[in-house]
Symmetry: C2
Subunit: 436 residues, 2 copies
């Protein structure tokens, strides 16, 4: 990909790209089993350049349907991004539809053809005849290099209408789009950029966060520059997305910094990150900074806490060990929980959670021990301890103990997810409080 | 919701519902952070009734955009399903747009209003004035009862065009749609039904599965009734979706059964389920049937295998314990792996995987032990053992041992996911082979 002017050589000053629509092409995304996620990546790149996505569509590998949707999107948006349908088979219809709708006949591009042939030759194959199709290009379209697959992307820009065709496989799409956005789209998108912060909050329900935050961010709509907000909820986590669209990066960043300060005043330590990082990353960083190691004893979470902690690259520096002790016997044998304690308080109780945490800490040779015991369901609940009851204990140096019992809404997967999230959050709070 | 005729009292025989489009309404789904998943549920219900989804769209809370998309969808499909935008705020535009586009003015439905007021009263509140909007109904629309929220769904069916408006929250949408599909949509959808089987395959790459299966299912397209196939790949798992649309359930099911037989002849034991169940469920059932208990020792998978096994309700019957031993010290202390073994072969080696499996089996008091040790990356790879190298051992009664070393494509999350999948698959194969 060359400089800013690629794909457009003559004509008046091109229309600035302010709005876009995205069409994902592929019949598999019209089944109940597969959702389009590529458009999230494309949206992210476009938003960074201040380009607003007006609508998204998913359509099957069907020429008339795609042609209708494409024509309508062209009428509404400055830029239409088509994802998928650039493969070599008869099902791959994107090229043909774009050529037909824009009245730009297809022809073989000798350079692309050569590159595809070389790609096959490098693997010791002759190019199958059907792959010739991937070298077909609508008149005036500029190929967008694809380092990870046979089909290049295609870019058409007549100054009035802009069309970008991207391949469906994410490992091809992602690097191609990153380079293209930087080199070609950015100069066409005008001066405004989108600045964003994602505040992640744990320990409060969505309605509570909204009640506290809404009076604050309601005022920001009329600020200069205005701050737009979106609230999103997932199990045990609320996210506040703050965005400022501005041509002045310093003003935008300052506005966002002030906004975060205002929210911090009411939400305090419930905010665990202001850059979208997950709890496992935040906890990992706290552990690493303070030279602490962690060991985990899990019952109802079944390994999910350990799995999340080890999702973080470099977690071997602080993650010592985890024991999933589902049965009472395993709690006794593997963690040294006294049988008498289980008999007296029950397996789901604060004393047992604490003993599990202490067992993990001692056996894992760690500074911090975590113990989680609860009832994930669907069976196992009682009137006193219904499904969703989870005891979480954190133990640390100097006889530090933090124990709490939660009652989560039922649903096995939900209880697991919320208990893991709460346990990581309790570790975070314990480390922060100890440091004060 | 009453019987089949609800919402349509006069006129000629209604057009059969064969095709649908789905529009999800909500600006948050146009951000890079949130994907529409409700449409998968709607698609599933529609497909069951033989109704084909032609296209899907996502649009923001914007009247002109929604009106344009809605008008176009009406022109193409027999049924348009709108999801979301039925709340009480100014952002909720679905009702107004449908009323305007169809020329059916909105009016307050006294019965709905009363129901909303009672819902608030039951919680000790007066209904806020803004919620009055949720009782507004386009002329001729029939409310669809909502047991889990304030706003009912709405159904408009003039025999020629059918429009269904559903609330966005899944816990409201799901039960509402289940009842509505059964009572109202089914009689309008004609006789044909969609019959589906999902074959899940492990241990082969997608291209390999396709190469073996394609010559077989290519023939099915012309069979009576024809079988449509879709192939989907996720880390360590290939799915073949077979669907038959037919008015004769017995013929459809017989066709699917024969199709599965034909595929089984070439794919054999690589097929681990024919009903879409995941490996953790299949392994769980094998363990339960045979009265076997399992214990797991994990290094690079970090608890993911244990977490997947315990995702299954009732897994406490066979899941004894898991130990996540990330450090060499933990492998020695918690699993009894001899230090000399690690020194001689390295932590990522078949002998260490086997010793981990044996340690887990003995300490967890289980019949089957699993040991997984590998390099998830990004750091830790060597020329001899690059990132993605994973040794997996299964041990069982009678000195049974099965050990294999895999090399997965790099990427920390991918290595974890593929190693967990491969380990579960090795357990499955070990149990099946032992039983023969």
């Amino acid at each position: 990909v060359g400089g800013a002017g690629v794909g457009r050589v003559t004509g008046p000053a091109p229309r600035q790209l302010a709005t876009a629509e995205i069409i994902a092409v592929g019949s598999e995304m019209l089944t109940p089993f597969k959702v389009d996620t590529n458009s999230l990546l494309v949206t992210s790149r476009l938003n960074e350049l201040g380009i607003q996505v007006l609508a998204k569509a998913v359509v099957g590998d069907d020429q008339p349907s795609l042609a209708a949707l494409f024509r309508q999107a062209l009428a509404r948006a400055d830029l239409v991004v088509l994802i998928g349908g650039l493969g070599p088979t008869a099902d791959d219809v994107t090229r043909d539809v774009v050529a037909a709708v824009l009245g730009r006949p297809l022809a073989v591009d000798a350079e692309i053809l050569q590159r595809i042939e070389r790609r096959f030759a490098a693997r010791g194959y002759r190019m199958p005849e059907i792959n010739r199709k991937q070298a077909m290009v609508p008149r005036g379209a500029v190929p967008v290099p694809n380092a990870h697959g046979t089909a290049p992307g295609l870019w058409i820009d007549d100054g009035e209408r802009a069309v970008l065709m991207l391949p469906g496989p994410p490992r091809e799409l992602e690097p191609m789009l990153a380079a293209f956005a930087r080199d070609v789209l950015a100069p066409r998108a005008g001066e405004a950029r989108l600045h964003r912060r994602v505040l992640c909050i744990a320990g409060r329900p969505e309605s509570h966060v909204d009640e506290l935050a809404q009076p604050i961010y309601a005022r920001w709509r009329d600020a200069a520059p205005p701050v737009a907000t979106t609230i999103l909820a997932s199990p045990g986590q609320i996210e506040l997305h703050l965005t400022v669209r501005s041509t002045d990066p310093a003003a935008a960043e300052a506005r966002l910094a002030r906004s975060i300060e205002e929210l911090s005043e009411v939400l305090g330590p419930d905010i665990f990150s202001t850059d979208g990082r997950g709890l496992e990353e935040v906890v990992g960083e706290l552990l690493r900074e303070r030279g602490l190691r962690i060991a985990v004893a899990e019952s109802c979470t079944g390994g999910l806490i350990a799995s999340r902690l080890t999702d973080v690259p470099g977690s071997s520096a602080y993650m010592q060990a985890a024991v999933v002790a589902y049965s009472n016997q395993a709690k006794v044998d593997l963690l040294g929980v006294p049988e008498a304690l289980i008999a007296e308080y029950g397996a789901v109780s604060e004393p047992v959670a604490r003993a599990m945490a202490e067992g993990a800490r001692a056996r894992g040779v760690a500074e911090i021990g975590v113990g989680v015991t609860g009832i994930a369901g669907p069976a196992g609940g009682t009137p006193q301890k219904p499904v969703g009851t989870v005891a979480i204990a954190i133990v640390g140096p100097g006889a530090f103990v933090r124990v709490r019992t939660f009652t989560f809404p039922p649903g096995r997967a939900m209880v697991k997810a919320q208990a893991a999230q709460a346990a990581l959050d309790q570790v975070r709070r314990a480390i922060l409080e100890r440091a004060e």
